[in-house]
């Protein structure tokens, strides 16, 4: 197997707020290989966007990366080592802020943001903004960068790019703006593009066109993608491998086919049940019960137990690390104690009464203590 382009190992990003520490990303690990599209899936608040901004080291204050290593093409984007006083400090190899800005951001790793309406600067021309990023990240003189910008606009399907170059963002539709943002990412010729829910704000027909465009460009330029989304149908359409996140953790990690046809984690299953699938006929969709708990005080044990239809008493106590449950030669990691390899006595453990398992006492936002009380009654 080839070496990974990007390796994220045990990444932890926390937000230090007045109410306490929010563990937005809590020890996730994944790889991205050259030229593949890796999905990062989960509900709102799972920590997907924080994970991607951590890769570029652009986490907004009061957020901070507190642990883990991020390696990209032999460069250490983030790494810690023990200092002389025993406290962790940035390691020797870790790139400085200046190096991150000059060598990595845009040039090696580009990003496409979620909201095309807000991401372009309203007072500069679309072409000018594109040209600025090309100039900066490809060291081209202004005139060449402008030509390149026009070519890129044409490539992402903007009609009449010579004239549209001088227009302002408000003269573009949402879909067109998203194409411009894609042009920005591709134009810098990075090896990795992070697409942070780029189609969420678009309507479905435009979404289809954008996905097609990305697939085309991805083939042409052989760029790797991290595709952040909450939409399982988008995952099915374009991803090669998928990481499913829940409350700051990756709970299932598999090839896209294995994830859809041999789903391991109840959360992934619940996500899949909540969308219509063309390959299955069902009477009714089955949305996930409840809302995701706050990352400031995550549930004990398995974080999904409060909403899991298969939760048992042991799930409150044991916090599972993902293990390989693969049935073929592709790795397939999942973190659920119902599998025998975990061997924590799931089968013997009594079922939990939660909202998801049909319990009557549980509310929509059941707290940990309530869940424990339920268990204790038995």
């Amino acid at each position: 197997m080839t070496t990974p382009l990007l390796t994220v190992d045990n990444l932890k990003t926390q937000f230090f707020t007045e109410d306490g520490t929010v563990r937005a990303v809590d020890g996730i690990s994944f790889d991205v290989y050259p030229g593949e599209i890796v999905g990062l899936v989960g509900e709102s608040g799972a920590g997907k966007s924080v994970a991607t901004s951590s890769i570029l080291r652009l986490v907004d204050s009061p957020g901070e990366i507190v642990d883990g290593t991020i390696t990209f093409k032999e460069k250490t984007l983030f790494g810690l080592e023990a200092g002389p006083d025993g406290e962790p400090r940035p390691s020797e190899e870790m790139l400085t802020e200046e190096e991150m800005r000059k060598e990595v951001r845009g040039r090696e790793i580009a990003i496409i943001f979620q909201d095309p309406m807000e991401s372009l600067n309203p007072v500069f021309t679309v072409g000018g903004q594109l040209r600025e990023f090309i100039e900066l990240n490809r060291d081209l003189p202004t005139e060449e960068a402008k030509q390149e910008a026009i070519d890129m606009l044409r490539e992402v399907g903007i009609p009449d790019p010579e004239n549209r170059y001088d227009e302002y963002p408000h003269q573009f539709s949402g879909g067109m703006r998203q194409r411009v943002l894609i042009a920005m990412a591709i134009a810098c010729r990075p090896d990795l593009i992070i697409a942070d829910e780029p189609t969420t704000a678009l309507d479905v027909t435009v979404e289809g066109q954008i996905l097609e465009l990305v697939a085309e460009l991805q083939e042409k330029y052989d760029t790797a993608f991290i595709w952040v989304t909450h939409d399982m149908s988008v995952v099915a359409e374009i991803c090669d491998r998928v990481n499913v996140m829940y409350l700051g953790e990756i709970i299932e990690q598999a090839h896209v086919d294995d994830l859809f046809y041999n789903t391991k984690h109840p959360y992934t299953q619940a996500l899949l049940n909540s969308i219509p699938r063309p390959d299955e006929t069902i009477e009714e969709l089955d949305p996930i019960k409840g809302v995701m708990p706050e990352a400031i005080n995550p549930p004990s044990g398995c974080r999904f137990h409060s909403r899991c239809p298969e939760a048992r008493e042991v799930c409150q106590r044991v916090h599972p690390e993902p293990r390989d449950l693969s049935a073929n030669d592709r790795p397939h990691n999942a973190a659920c104690v119902k599998y025998d390899v975990f061997d924590v006595g799931y089968d013997a453990s009594p079922p939990l009464e939660t909202d998801a398992t049909g319990g009557f006492s549980a509310g929509l936002t059941q707290t940990e203590s309530e869940a424990e009380a339920d268990g204790g009654d038995r």
Binding site: A110, N121, V123
Partner: protein, 332 residues
């Protein structure tokens, strides 16, 4: 529509506003109790004298006739004759207007030059000590009346320290022969700057404080914009982000407050000129009112109205120039 036609259109639109200003000031001025002729001639004037003077200034005609002839006079650039000074109103205004404009422009130059960096630093170091200092300073600035600041400046810098003169103003383009202690034009300019300094600060502090506050909040907003995040993610240096990406967007509300500030500064100029005994438009309007000089009241008020309208037009044009989303009225 191009920027030039847009400008022209805005000027044309201002005409009805100006006619409205003239109408209101005309009838208001004529409603002031008392009589300018009486003020002029004392308590017991002779009947003939009164009639002669009324005839000279057209006061013997019915009010609607006077209104119409005044209106046509203004259209022809004739603002009438000052009763008090016995000189054409326009001449008096032309004599005093440069003084007030000089004071206002220098006050705004001072305000903008200090407020914009202060606002940016404040926004950039949000909730840090530098931000707190600048916010407290601007809070004091907006809540202190300019005449009080003027008095304090006079007491401290003119009376106790003696660094600056307390009264009067010298125009920098004045003839060196007319200025005491100056032989060359350069010395005149220096004397002018010396005289201008305290009134400039007295008048400019309010504007500075207001602009700082708006600049700060606009910069805080735009620094949190998605487009700033995008620029950071593409490796744009932080200084460029502040100077270009965030700054341009943040200037829209700042321009509005500067445009509105022009009108409050006119009011402030009247007080500042009184405090510093500067012979400008502010003093002229007060003299006019005190002496019931109808023509002069109308003329000066009209000039203030013109200044206000010009301020609004400049704001609109600046807006259209900076914000591409502002259309020139014919796009949908």
């Amino acid at each position: 529509m191009g920027l030039a036609r847009y400008t022209l259109w805005r000027v044309v639109q201002a005409v009805p506003v100006l006619i409205g200003i003239i109408t209101i000031t005309f009838f208001l001025a004529n409603q002031i109790p008392g009589d300018p002729v009486q003020t002029m001639l004392g308590p017991n004037p002779g009947q003939e004298q009164v009639e002669a003077i009324q005839a000279r200034y057209g006061l013997d005609r019915p009010i609607h006739e006077r209104y119409l002839s005044y209106l046509s006079g203004v259209a022809a650039g004739n603002l009438g004759l000052s009763i008090y000074y016995d000189r054409p109103v326009l001449e008096m205004i032309m004599l005093r207007l440069p003084v007030t404009l000089l004071l206002m422009l220098s006050a705004f130059a001072f305000a903008i030059a200090t407020a914009i960096p202060l606002g940016i630093i404040s926004a950039k170091r949000r909730n840090k000590p530098a931000d707190h200092v600048s916010r407290i300073v601007s809070l004091i600035g907006v809540s202190t009346p300019s005449f009080w600041i003027g008095l304090v400046l006079i007491i401290v810098f003119a009376f106790y320290l003696g660094w600056f003169p307390a009264r009067g103003l010298v125009l920098p383009w004045a003839d060196p022969a007319d200025v005491r202690g100056a032989e060359t034009q350069f010395q005149v300019i220096r004397t002018a700057a010396h005289h201008l300094f305290l009134p400039m600060i007295a008048l400019g502090t309010l504007q500075m404080a207001q602009i700082t506050r708006i600049e700060r909040s606009a910069m805080v907003d735009s620094l949190q914009g998605e487009y700033v995040k995008l620029a950071r993610a593409y490796g744009v240096p932080e200084s460029t982000i502040v100077r270009k990406h965030a700054f341009q967007v943040a200037q829209l509300p700042v321009i509005t407050i500067i445009g509105l500030g022009l009108s409050t500064a006119l009011g402030g100029a009247v007080l500042t000129e009184t405090v510093f005994e500067i012979q400008g438009m502010g003093r002229l309007i007060i003299t006019a009112i005190n002496n019931q000089d109808y023509e002069l009241i109308m003329g000066t008020t009209f000039m203030f109205g013109v200044a206000y309208v010009v301020g609004v037009i400049i704001t609109d044009i600046a807006y259209a120039y900076i914000d591409p989303r502002v259309t020139y009225g014919d796009e949908t």
